[in-house]
Subunit: 167 residues, 2 copies
């Protein structure tokens, strides 16, 4: 179908200026162009795909990488400081509109959005409900535990450039 738009897997708008999704591929580029992105925040430690790197260069989109290894029992835990880094990038309006993504758009993205909701003052019930909406049957208790225990005081960000909805 000519001209049909295909958002990346698990695409959604999280807040004004902030989008989340799974890993985009070239089939998603026409859709992404509509978002008029300024920034892509990439949450995996692996090198970014050549197709996306080239697309970003051609469309003047900066790529910021905060490489997070996902929670995996029993010994691999998401590092709190890298999540705080990711939040600092998300909460800077100069980077908006921004698309944050990991691989599936479920776990790492879900954790970062969960901690963002905590900073917004959402109840844990609401945060977990949103997390589950994207994780579906792949919910990870360790992710939810991370969100619950995350200390929002550890996030330093520039208040001057913070989105109005956070203030």
């Amino acid at each position: 179908m000519d001209g049909v738009l295909i958002p990346p897997l698990n695409f959604s708008m999280a807040a004004p200026g902030i989008y989340r999704s799974g890993y985009p591929n070239s089939m998603n580029h026409a859709f992404m162009k509509k978002l008029q992105l300024k920034t892509i925040l990439y949450l995996c430690p692996e090198d970014y795909s050549e197709a996306n790197t080239a697309w970003c260069r051609a469309h003047n989109v900066q790529i910021v990488q905060c490489g997070i290894l996902p929670n995996k029992e029993p010994f691999q835990f998401i590092p709190e400081d890298v999540v705080a880094d990711a939040l600092r990038v998300l909460l800077d309006c100069r980077n908006h509109p921004i698309l944050m993504h990991c691989n599936s758009g479920k776990h790492r993205s879900g954790v970062v959005i969960g901690t963002l909701r905590k900073m917004q003052g959402w109840s844990l019930t609401s945060i977990f409900d949103e997390y589950r909406r994207f994780a579906g049957s792949k919910v990870r208790i360790l992710d939810q535990q991370f969100i619950e225990l995350f200390r929002i005081e550890s996030v330093t960000y520039d208040k001057e450039y913070a989105p109005r909805w956070l203030r």
Copy 2:
């Protein structure tokens, strides 16, 4: 917990200026205040709750009602013209920010957002994926069929006030 914010069930941002959710109650009012809403679009035919009506009056939020009876086999079908009315309200920036809601935030809201995605040019696969994210185990085939067969040409709206992301 004092000051904790509780979004309505199935709350989400659908696009710049447009929010969707289940039926808000008074526990959600503090959260809703943060959205600085101009309009609530209520998708059920029943009278609106007194608590929400009073809250809207106090916060200068206009209430628009497009009463839709949900799809129910074998003989009750969502009317195409009322969905077109709802889209006309959603696609008028003068009503933004707008919160659209039904009862559970699954079916009627899912159908209206699905038809909105069709107007945006999304693939049906992506539209149904989003529909399912909110409907969970309560997916209705008739809703998906409605979205597939919906004629976007039947929607008339004022181009001058349409959101930029639709143009």
